[in-house]
Symmetry: D2
Subunit: 303 residues, 4 copies
């Protein structure tokens, strides 16, 4: 059991405080012989790097990842893969004198561990997800047959994309924030991944996504719409979805994730009006980790 690791066969352990000297992760159980280098991982990190648009925090970290073990001549060795990102831009000063911020997990964290680390949200900060994205990059190597793509489908209750820019500007200038819903589709997953009852593929996807900072809901396939439907209308009842009884069916797997509005209202400088905007690469990474883990599990038990 590990309270800071994730996965069964392919296991991700992350470490690092946002404003400590570095953040990192260890991926172990990766099969040997897969092509892995820093540019491969960097590419996925760059898709989430803050500072790429006015809608995300203007912190200027380059987020350069280093691979410290687990590869030789460009291929995985089968041994643990350690990756690390040095924290260049600390700016701890901005956070040093703040009282616990509601919704930012400080009060509960404080009570659990007995003190508060004022250095900027500690591990509960969104930057920690960088290492999940790095882990997801490795996971993708295990499942080349699978395509995973996530995108924002709703912001602040609005599905019409043409309105989003305006809504985000309003939120930014009004020191307000917006929730978002992200949809992730995985195609190419063959039939048979997932183990019934307690390593059900959907249950593990749910845990992986609910564990992302700011996520408050996860649904698979029709999700809550199925909870409100009749069998005669429901796609879930008429045809198999991507997951049935916890096992993949060969059809597309659709996961939808709800990000709550960020609660940093009025702090200035580091205000993300919609944390969900950066959620897509993280959701993809977590989905990749779960699918890769299950591919290995299935291969192990059933050959």
């Amino acid at each position: 059991m590990s309270i800071n690791s994730f996965g069964h066969m392919l296991r991700l352990t992350t470490w690092g405080e946002s404003h400590g000297p570095a953040i990192g992760c260890v991926v172990d159980g990766c099969p040997p012989g897969l092509e892995l280098d820093e540019p491969w991982v960097q590419r996925f990190l760059d898709a989430r790097r803050p500072g790429t648009s006015k809608n995300v925090s203007p912190r200027q970290e380059p987020d350069r990842v280093r691979i410290l073990s687990g590869t030789y001549e460009g291929r995985t060795t089968g041994t643990p893969i350690a990756m690390m990102i040095d924290n260049v831009d600390a700016r701890s000063a901005d956070y040093s004198n703040l009282p616990p911020r509601p919704g930012h997990a400080d009060a509960a964290y404080d009570a659990k561990y007995g003190f508060r680390d004022p250095r900027g949200g500690g591990r509960a900060s969104a930057r920690e997800t960088a290492m999940r994205v790095a882990g997801g990059a490795v996971a993708r190597l295990v499942i080349p047959e699978v395509n995973i793509a996530a995108a924002v489908v709703e912001i602040g209750g609005e599905q019409d994309e043409s309105r989003w820019e305006e809504m985000l500007d309003e939120a930014r200038s009004g020191s307000d924030s917006l929730g978002a819903i992200i949809e992730c589709v995985a195609t190419g997953v063959p039939i048979g991944w997932g183990a019934p009852i307690y390593a059900k593929l959907d249950a593990e996807l749910a845990a992986a996504c609910m564990g992302i900072n700011a996520v408050k809901g996860v649904e698979i396939g029709e999700g809550f719409a199925a909870g409100r439907a009749r069998g005669s209308e429901s796609m879930e009842a008429k045809k198999a979805s991507g997951i049935d009884g916890g096992i993949s069916t060969g059809k597309a797997i659709v996961v939808r994730v709800a990000f709550k509005p960020t609660s940093s209202i009025g702090i200035g400088g580091r205000h993300d009006p919609c944390v969900g905007i950066r959620g897509a690469p993280v959701v993809e990474a977590m989905v990749a980790l779960v699918l890769a883990d299950h591919k290995l599990l299935h291969r192990g038990q059933c050959g």
Copy 2:
């Protein structure tokens, strides 16, 4: 790692095919000295027993649970607690010649394991949840300070309870089925349970509930509503919910679970028009298991 076990410190392993000779479970890691006897567990099982109303399958199993180990003179010994229910009413004949039923997990199960067990849905059947309820009964002993109550809040999209009986009759006679949404509230959970990042309390509640047969969505607190809100309106942003950053805050924890419409349309005899109706005791049991597990985890790491 166990693909058929659930939990870290307090661990539940279930076994048994619905139409095999028996179903059972083993709960291990339970603290010693807690009062446990068969009537305590039976009480929770009776709340879910089929045959108690016209809206659930008329199978006449008494579902009598036996405790085979782990107790002495009415108290837990700290060793594994094995529980078992003999399957009295098999009625396998009803299922013996059926083709795979869509949405009933046979096709995926078949492909994964290489054959199909025609004896009535095997483990993917709702009866397997009896052992989860039994496990939940033990878990509740670990967390006497917590009150857990789940109830149906929506059937087929309708929140008005006065309409439900009618809708269920219609569905039954029309060989249709209805989805349902169940809400579970846990109060009395102190601050500090849950471990950030990968054993987040909300992530584990999500996995526990998504793993229940027929569940397609799980949300915590405001859930998907938060995904559609603005920070200025959102309760999640204004005041802490029951879980923040994966750790309990001391406030009520609210989990909402969406059950899809059952896909047994037109089979007759064993037709549940709304499987969600029996979902409340199961959701409570899974929530109890997760909370009890986390109480022990927290005590172990932080004293």
Copy 3:
């Protein structure tokens, strides 16, 4: 993490007090399609059943095992396999008024759990190993290419078999007891099983065997003799043993296990003068469980 389960992919959970109503186990992660029936398991249990000679306790349990789940038409289904043995001969009366017996784990058990279960040594009794043997029987199905054979090689320091009968008679009539050393050889293990560092095959064999009741030492290959040798003399240095760097080499794996003398001196009736005599089937079972687990692990990670 489970404190009463063993294994990674192929996992064994046992339960049951020796003088409770039954003892049982659950094996999960077993691949589907393997031929498994009760006679197969019974055969291994009969090899360890007490009452087969004057040198073991004259308790008359038939130890009949039942398989309650996980098989269909004689083959494993891939789902958890539950097995159970009802306890026919309790004779609890013999143990009801005893003070804690040194070396029988009562005092430590009592202090840990807060009370003493006087019903005959509880789980610390040698009968609990019956379910390990049952688990081992299932494990063997996973590794048909491997042959595992264990035998007593020393009793009370004596390697000459012709002296054993006499020594055992002396010990029995003098209310004394004897230690024993068992050697187990596994052949046919291909190269590559085991994962370096923390799932080393030898480390896991050590844990599996040291966990057997009354075992005080485990050695692999030359063992302690290597600790006393020079490289120029040592077989370990000259040629690869069955395990090198935690991974199997394709050569025979030799494990030697030391059983301490039983401490039931003078109790009469249930006096095993040498508990090691019954150790061979248990050692074989534990070796089978570890090897099977590692076959699946290797297949999962490396294909």
Copy 4:
């Protein structure tokens, strides 16, 4: 399940190839509030650093450890503690053209993973143990009530210390090597740590020690001597040892570990005539990790 992690509540994951850019580890589950800084860890590393005497390899790494996460103002935060040592002295050239060396785990490693990493023994090298010693340093903070001390008690079969220097010189000049036996004593362990059957304290100590590079045997208390004794003579039978039935008794726990002779005969420069000499700090570290893990486990289950 993690094949490169060790422990239940207090978990150690190590990474790094001996001749890669760095080696490191992550310790998670450590309780918060314990005083931890780099000098504390460095002290234990210096006790094993090569180059301190003529009998160990003259590689000149300073082995400076850095703590990258998990502490704040000198105390543990309860979050994962990452530690790292940059590899200063590579000298890969010495190893680049060697064929697989018997007993050095290359052939088995190669077959398992499909290639050979010629950079100096990869993970199977003794230098990897540096991170175990670092992990052990953290573990000791969890168990301040326990004293752990290991020492060499035999070299090449000789228990008389006055002969060791001479034997080592002979071995060095004759390009031979010597096995060694290390004895580790832990005092101050209270009654009650360890969980019967599969998380038995002795089984886990056995796994921890057998997993150390070059170890071929582990015994607890009287060990193999008990296997050769009579109950009337045996200390194990007369009085409780430090572990009984897998649970600590409050008495001193004695573990003895056998290191085989190193197989690097004749390579020159990097010839350790007796790898066991450096084994004591590693054995202490592994014993500390197991005991600390079990203290937390016991606290979690039993309060």
